[in-house]
């Protein structure tokens, strides 16, 4: 298959910003209760044609339940799931034009690879010759054409994963559901497969919905991510927005590493506001427009946005704090510094190790200054 250039497709793809666009899938006020426990709590989420959408959250946050309601294995207690504008209420799983790739792969152990892939096509009553062609096409797609006669237990984990993918793609579903699809693979294979999945999704022009607890996985594959927690969606946005503009402390903390300072907001002149941390008088300046004055707020800043230096910066006008190096983690590509500020707060800073140094210049107990720009962090009010 000729590989398409991803850039033009992914760069311009943003149907969620288009008020005219009709969502392919629409969760509308979906709630799912099991007895007293609310697994999914009034979720509204539109997902668009050709979108690669990720549901991201810790285990038990309701992401799998939400996906299973689309597959038809669970019925919403309240609300409705729409596909192409039509309600899926009461439509059993075997009549829904969506297919799912299961976390355990759920390959039929008593059937060969080709029989597994052909299973769904056979249910549709497709002609034998057509089935054979489609199975061959699918196995070529996942590079398993030489393994057609094997049984699942004769395959490696990675190969099984590809059979499961081929089987769920064979019927060319309107939506492909991926339930933690790469969880059982080792790290290298998982990363390679993530890129393969995005290529595949663009090449096939299909809509993918992935459930994962792995933020790196979600950020690698997805056009948009819905961050879930305790049955509700905390934020839906592109990976970059989720990372750089988290909507709340929960999202900021869940995705990547972050330092969070609590204080009071003071609206200033020239669009520059200040956040004052009461106990120690630490003042943070930000150019982010803030709505109200004198309210409690949090300032969140990513460790890699902090500059670490051994010398006191010349202009210490804004956003400079000093402290001692409390701990260092050298990870090869980056180093993580835990800096204990004079007031006792510990801030994390990461620096890329761009030069090859045998002796590290910054060591334990060194006095360092941390500086950052006005636009480096975000002010959060929830």
């Amino acid at each position: 298959m000729a590989k398409q250039a991803l850039g033009p497709i992914r760069r311009s793809f943003a149907p969620w910003d288009d008020p005219e666009a009709k969502p392919l899938i629409h969760f509308r006020g979906v709630t799912k209760r099991y007895g007293d426990f609310t697994a999914v709590d009034g979720i509204d989420l539109p997902i668009y044609e050709r979108e690669f959408h990720a549901l991201l959250g810790p285990s038990g946050c309701g992401k799998t339940t939400l996906m299973r309601m689309l597959a038809g294995f669970e019925e919403p207690t309240e609300g409705d799931v729409l596909l192409d504008g039509a309600s899926l209420k009461g439509v059993p799983p075997y009549r829904r034009p969506v297919n799912m790739m299961f976390q355990s792969y759920a390959l039929f152990p008593h059937m060969s690879v080709e029989k597994n892939v052909a299973f769904g096509l056979k249910q549709d009553g497709m002609a034998k010759s057509e089935i054979a062609d489609r199975v061959a096409e699918m196995l070529t797609l996942v590079r398993l054409q030489d393994f057609a006669k094997r049984k699942p237990h004769q395959l490696s984990g990675g190969q099984r994963q590809r059979v499961a993918l081929a089987r769920s793609l064979a019927k060319k579903p309107r939506v492909l559901l991926l339930d933690e699809p790469l969880g059982a693979l080792d790290k290298k294979l998982r990363e390679a497969t993530q890129f393969e999945l995005t290529d595949l999704q663009v090449d096939l022009g299909m809509t993918f919905l992935i459930v994962t607890h792995d933020q790196e996985e979600a950020m690698t594959v997805a056009d948009r991510i819905a961050v879930m927690d305790q049955g509700v969606i905390r934020q839906v946005a592109t990976p970059a927005e989720i990372y750089e503009q988290p909507a709340s402390r929960y999202v900021a903390d869940f995705i990547g590493d972050i330092n969070i300072l609590e204080g009071r907001l003071e609206k200033g002149a020239n669009g520059i506001s200040r956040l004052v941390v009461p106990e120690d008088g630490l003042v943070v300046e930000t150019d982010q427009p803030v709505e109200s004055d004198a309210q409690n707020a949090w300032y969140a800043i990513r460790p890699e946005k902090l500059r670490v230096s051994l010398d006191q910066p010349a202009d210490i006008a804004v956003n400079t704090v000093s402290g001692e190096i409390w701990d260092i983690a050298y990870l090869g590509d980056v180093s993580i510094y835990h800096v204990k500020l004079d007031n006792g707060t510990i801030m994390r800073a990461t620096t890329a190790n761009t030069t090859r140094l045998v002796e590290r210049p910054i060591s334990w107990d060194d006095r360092v200054w941390l500086t950052w720009d006005r636009n480096a962090g975000v002010v959060l009010t929830s």
Binding site: F73, P92, P93, Y94, V98, F119, H153, Q154, S156, S168
Partner: protein, 275 residues
């Protein structure tokens, strides 16, 4: 260190196996006795096997037994599998623990009580006793065994396999027959075998529920032995032992072959990955 088994182990093994198999070996040997007297050895002969072939009563009883066993085992397997499915898959329906308890109860119920209660039922309903009442009685008690065997397999069955089948377009019944049943087939077959042998050697329940014209082999043998052990009976029992032995050996050989093949396949898959 590679020590052989200790003397203690050897002795306890010999004694144990002697307890189990000496009576059976004696029975087999005496079935080839030339004389009529069971206690006196008069030399080798297959005379009693020949005579057995012309003993219509015994052959008729054997035929009844096999028919009852085949029919009751098959129906018990179907009902027992359904019961197991309901108990494992039925979710938390009202009275579920009562039901699962009730499935196990007949396993520990003395045969005499099962037999007597079934007899009372048949009398009360007014069934004429015979082939069908024995069959029904056997279905009743052997389906519990099937349910237990199949249930234990279903508990470890990955439900997502069935969901995958439905997800790919198979309605529930189709998903069951195309995916679930083939995978739990060994347990279902084991349940059938168990039901078949239980029916084959049941004496107590059969004697409660039998009627004129339907004498099973165990009943026949038991009543014959009361009039004195005849070498013919020894011959019948030897044949039964032979059938059971062949069945057990065949089953374990085929299991072993499958296991060996599966291991080899997995080794090959692992080797292919390493390469």
């Amino acid at each position: 260190m590679n020590r052989g088994p200790s003397w203690f182990n050897i002795v306890s093994m010999v004694v144990g196996f002697a307890f189990l198999y000496l009576p059976i070996v004696l029975l087999v040997i005496y079935s080839f006795n030339a004389g009529r007297n069971v206690a006196v050895w008069e030399g080798w002969s297959t005379r009693w096997y020949v005579e057995l072939m012309s003993n219509d009563q015994l052959l008729a009883a054997a035929w009844v037994t096999i028919r009852v066993a085949l029919l009751s085992a098959t129906i018990a397997t179907i009902l027992g599998t359904m019961a197991a499915l309901a108990l494992v898959r039925g979710g938390l329906f009202y009275g579920r623990s009562l039901f699962s308890g009730m499935v196990y109860a007949p396993l520990v119920m003395p045969d005499v009580i099962t037999g007597l209660s079934l007899l009372l039922l048949f009398v009360a309903v007014g069934f004429s006793r015979g082939f069908w009442t024995i069959t029904m009685a056997h279905i009743t008690f052997s389906m519990c065994f099937v349910a237990v065997v199949v249930q234990s397999r279903l508990i470890s069955f990955d439900k997502s396999l069935e969901e995958a089948a439905m997800d790919l377009g198979a309605p529930p019944m189709k998903a069951f027959f195309a995916v679930t049943l083939p995978i739990i087939a060994p347990a279902v077959a084991a349940g059938w075998m168990l039901a078949f042998t239980l029916s084959l050697d049941d004496l107590v329940i059969a004697s409660f529920t039998t009627g004129p014209g339907a004498t099973t082999l165990p009943i026949k043998i038991y009543s014959a032995v009361r009039l004195g052990v005849s070498p013919e009976i020894n011959a019948v029992c030897t044949i039964l032992i032979g059938i059971v032995t062949i069945g057990v050996i065949a089953a374990s050989l085929s299991m072993k072959r499958k296991e060996v093949r599966r291991r080899r396949d997995e080794r090959m898959a692992a080797a292919a990955n390493a390469a």
